[in-house]
Structures are given as structure tokens and as C-alpha cells.
Amino acid sequence: MEAAILRVRGLAAGYGPVHALSSVSLEVPDGAVTAVLGGNGAGKSTLLRAISGTLRFQGGAITGGTIEFAGERLDGRNAARVVAAGVVQVPEGRQVFARMSVADNLRAGALGARHGRRGEQEARERVFGLFPVLAERVHQRAGLLSGGEQQMLAMGRALMARPRLLLLDEPSLGLAPMMAARIADTIREINDQGTAVLLVEQNAALALNLATRAVVLETGTVALSGTAAELAASDEVRRRYLGVGDEDAAADAEAGIRAEHDHSDGHPTLRRWVA
């Protein structure tokens, strides 16, 4: 296994009296995609916020443990210094600057990193290479882009800082399956270009397909961790996150369909609601 670029050890975090994470440890290998799975409220977003230094915007704080990136401590740093260290987060729900143009959104992405005019130009060319549609719409207001295009812009904006580690929070959220698949391809491409990725996803099938390693968070702690292949094969993950392998449920569903069919006297099972 490659050397870890990000090491989280015993991380605990909460929002006032509410504990969101307790003793989370994980390692993100350099140059690979690592996935974090888990249901709603498992602490996935809190983990990313703790790494990117934005917990305090939600009234939260790290209460224990360490976060180490490329040998430097990140915990306790403010968001700007985390970006300067080379870790950039794409927020959940895209959060593009809707009233600014695509070009200005990309400029905003480059604000936190000091790579000079040359570096910004190179980063922009890389982003336009990954997302040609952004080059076409460069003068449009970001709010007018489609959901998929906004996700591309959010990712492109983060890449403008030329991060070594990209944190992605639910990139497929609210996208059509085809667009989600395209975003997945792009994540793979970004990773192939040498950027490590920490991917938080509800869509476990998509995440395990992309990742080499994965952890499963449950109620604020790591419940499972291993290679993506191991997790994809594990019964628990298959049942709870991939939605397959639950024999009882499958049997119930089939029985239901059969019962419906019996009643319908040969009419199709799918029916419209008629007023």
C-alpha cells in the first residue's frame, strides 16, 4: 500500500453538546480514491468539515484526536490555511456562487492557493480539459447551469487551487444516473492525474466502484474498513448500502407483486392514478 497522505487518528467532534464523531481513525493513501460510506447522520459530512476546518461555521468543533496531512497537523487550522496546505473540499449540494459568472467562480477557487498567474492559467486549462462545457459557458452566470454542470463547476472551482487531496461531499447527490456516471468518470480522471480523493457518498455502488479503499461510518465511528473490493463483497455492506442480498425483503417484494397481479385480472401491474 502506498504511503498515506492524510492520517486521521482518534478524531472526535461535535456541535455543542451533540457528539457527531467519536474516535474516528482512517488513512487516505496518496494518489488513490478513498470512499467514506454511511447513512444519514453517520458523521460523514462532519468528518469532511473537521478536515477542511469549517466545523465552526456550523457551530461545531474538534474535541479530540489529530488530523495530519503530508506530515503537517491540520486540526486547529482555519479553512484558508487548510486550502493553502493543499486540501480542498467540494461542498455538498455544489454551492456554486450562483450570481457570479463561471469564470469568476473559477477565479474564486484560485484565491486560497498562491500559485501565481501562471499557476492559475495552468489550473484553468486543466479544468477546461476535464470539463469542456465550462469553457463554453465561461461568461454565463453559474446559477443558470444545470445541476450536473454546477457539480462540474464546483469540482473545477476546487481544482483551481491545485489541491493534492480533493474532498468530495456527495458529488452524485440529486443528479440523474447518467450525469452521476459522468461525474464518476471525471473523478477517476482527476485521480489519474495525480490528485488523491476522499469521497463521501450515499451511492455506495458508485463509490466502491471508484475507490481502492473504503470505510463505513456508523453513528460517528468507523464500523468497517478495508479495500473497496472486500467491502463490496461483505454481506453487511451489500445488505445495508448496496441494497442487494436481503433475501427476506426480496421475497416480500416478490410476494407483493404476485398478490397485486392476482387482483388485477390480467391488467398491467403499473397503473396510473386516475382522478
Binding site: 477542511s52 461555521f57 482555519n78 479553512a79 454551492q95 457570479m100 477565479r107 474564486a108 484565491l111
Partner: protein
């Protein structure tokens, strides 16, 4: 007709000065979501710094001292006081600024006392003939300087990295922070710019035909408040439009006061507020303001 033109030109000039003040309001509101009620005292402080240093330094250096002093004071207020309340409710912050205003105004009024300070500006009370109309040179200077400053500001807002950072922070502070924007700097620089603009406005509110800077000068900043509201508190374009509307309304209402005598005396001071009420009835977010949108 000549009277009308004179009043109109005076109004536009006055309006551009109001626009400077309103722009300060808007910058602070956009970047920190604070409605800054201490703006009047910031303006008076800028003026005070300039007039007390004018005897030793001369007019232009003293003006710079005023501008730099107000900018520094604004930054200091942000750094020492406003920053501590970050993340609190907006109304808490608004009340904090009222407190700051009371303290500053009281201290400045004590220092200024009953005196009226003249800037001893190079324009004096000279009149300029523009065809049939004659207007004070100070009004022309006010319009030119305010126009130039506003243009510079808007260009910076549009094209510089600082401007991009300001706009990003104004739209979504959390996401801007994720991009590495240093919100502390953004907020401090907004207060500095607002202070500097207010100090320039203080100059043009104190020169001919006004007698000079006195302890009441800060109150004029209150007229820029309807200007900012009319335009929409979160719109820079709105601040300009609002400033001009307030300036022209006030000038015309004062000039034609005798024809409007059925409304009583002092309609000129009241008119901007009447316009504000009418605008808010029709467009609650102001002419250019963004309406609060919430998704269900």
C-alpha cells in the same frame, strides 16, 4: 427652467456624495451582513481627523490623514469589536454598531464642541458657469471625485482578486472559506473601504455652501441610509441609484419648497424618506436588492 437645471445638477452632485456613503453601508452589509449604524460617526471621525491636521499639514495631506484615519478606525472597530460577535444574530450586531456610534459621536462632539471647522479647501465659494446655470465649484468637484472613486471601486469589485473574494464571501461565507478566502481580511477591508469613502463624503458635506464641519455633520449620513435602502441594501448599483434619487429628490423638494408649502416646512429633509417608503411598498427589497429566496 434654469432653476430646475440648477437644482437638478446640485441634486446629482449631492446624490453622488450620498452614493459614497451608501456604498460604504452596502459594502459592509454585503461582506459581513452587518447593518452599520456607526457609519455616521465614522464619517464625522474622518472629517475631524482632516480638519484638525489641516493647519499643520495643509489641505491635501490633511485630507489623506482623514481618509486613512477613518479607514483605520473602521478596521479597528471590525477587529476589536465586530469580530467578537461573528456568527451571532444580525440584530445583535446591528445593536452593537448603535452602541459604537453613541460612544464615538459623544466623544467627537465633546472634542468638536460648538466650533465649526472650515476645511480651507482650494475651491472656496467660486461659482462655475455652465451655460445659463451657475453652480458652486465644490459641487462640480464633489461630482467628479465621487464619480471617479465609485468607478474605481466598481472596477476593483468586478476585476480584482479582492473583488472576487468580496463577492464570493457576500454570496456564501462558508463556501468562500472552503475556497481559502480569509473572511477576517474581507470583513476588515470592507470596513476600511467604507471608512475611507465616508471620510471623502465628509469633506464634500462640509465645504461651500455649507459653512464647515461641525458636530452635526455626521447626521447627514443618515440621509444615505434611505439611499442604501431604496437601492437595496445588498446592491452596489443600488447604492448609486439610491444616492442619486435621494440627492435629486432632496434638492428639488428644497428648491420648490414654496410651491410645496402646503406640505409644511422642511419637506426637503423629509422627501428622501417618503421616496423610501413608496419604493419599499412596491419593491420590499429595494430597487436592485435581491429578494430573500428560500427553497422548500
Amino acid at each position: 427652467m434654469t432653476t430646475f437645471l440648477e437644482l437638478l445638477i446640485t441634486g446629482i452632485s449631492l446624490g453622488s456624495v450620498y452614493a459614497l456613503i451608501a456604498l460604504g453601508f452596502v459594502i459592509i452589509f454585503k461582506s459581513t451582513e452587518v447593518v452599520n449604524f456607526a457609519h455616521a460617526s465614522l464619517l464625522l471621525a474622518g472629517g475631524y481627523f482632516a480638519v484638525v491636521s489641516r493647519d499643520t499639514l495643509g489641505f491635501w495631506p490633511a485630507l489623506l490623514v482623514g481618509i486613512a484615519g477613518a479607514a483605520l478606525l473602521g478596521m479597528l472597530l471590525e477587529f476589536l469589536i465586530i469580530r467578537r460577535y461573528r456568527g451571532r444574530d444580525h440584530s445583535v450586531l446591528a445593536i452593537v454598531t448603535i452602541g459604537i456610534d453613541i460612544v464615538l459621536i459623544t466623544e467627537l462632539a465633546r472634542r468638536i464642541g460648538p466650533e465649526i471647522f472650515s476645511y480651507r479647501d482650494p475651491w472656496g465659494n467660486t461659482l462655475v458657469q455652465l451655460g445659463p446655470v451657475s453652480i458652486p465649484q465644490t459641487r462640480v468637484a464633489a461630482f467628479v471625485v465621487a464619480g471617479a472613486l465609485i468607478t474605481v471601486f466598481l472596477l476593483a469589485f468586478r476585476y480584482t482578486s479582492w473583488g472576487v473574494a468580496m463577492r464570493a464571501a457576500a454570496e456564501d461565507r462558508g463556501t468562500a472559506a472552503l475556497m481559502g478566502v480569509r473572511l477576517g481580511w474581507i470583513s476588515a477591508s470592507a470596513w476600511a473601504v467604507a471608512g475611507a469613502l465616508a471620510a471623502v463624503a465628509a469633506l464634500f458635506l462640509s465645504v461651500f455652501p455649507t459653512t464647515g464641519l461641525d458636530r452635526e455633520t455626521g447626521l447627514i449620513a443618515l440621509k444615505a441610509f434611505p439611499a442604501a435602502i431604496i437601492g437595496g441594501l445588498d446592491s452596489t448599483t443600488g447604492a448609486l441609484a439610491g444616492g442619486l434619487i435621494v440627492g435629486v429628490t432632496q434638492s428639488l423638494a428644497t428648491g420648490y419648497q414654496s410651491e410645496l408649502s402646503f406640505l409644511g416646512n422642511g419637506i426637503g429633509d423629509l422627501a428622501p424618506y417618503l421616496v423610501m417608503v413608496v419604493v419599499l411598498l412596491i419593491r420590499p427589497a429595494g430597487l436592485f436588492g435581491t429578494r430573500e429566496l428560500s427553497r422548500v
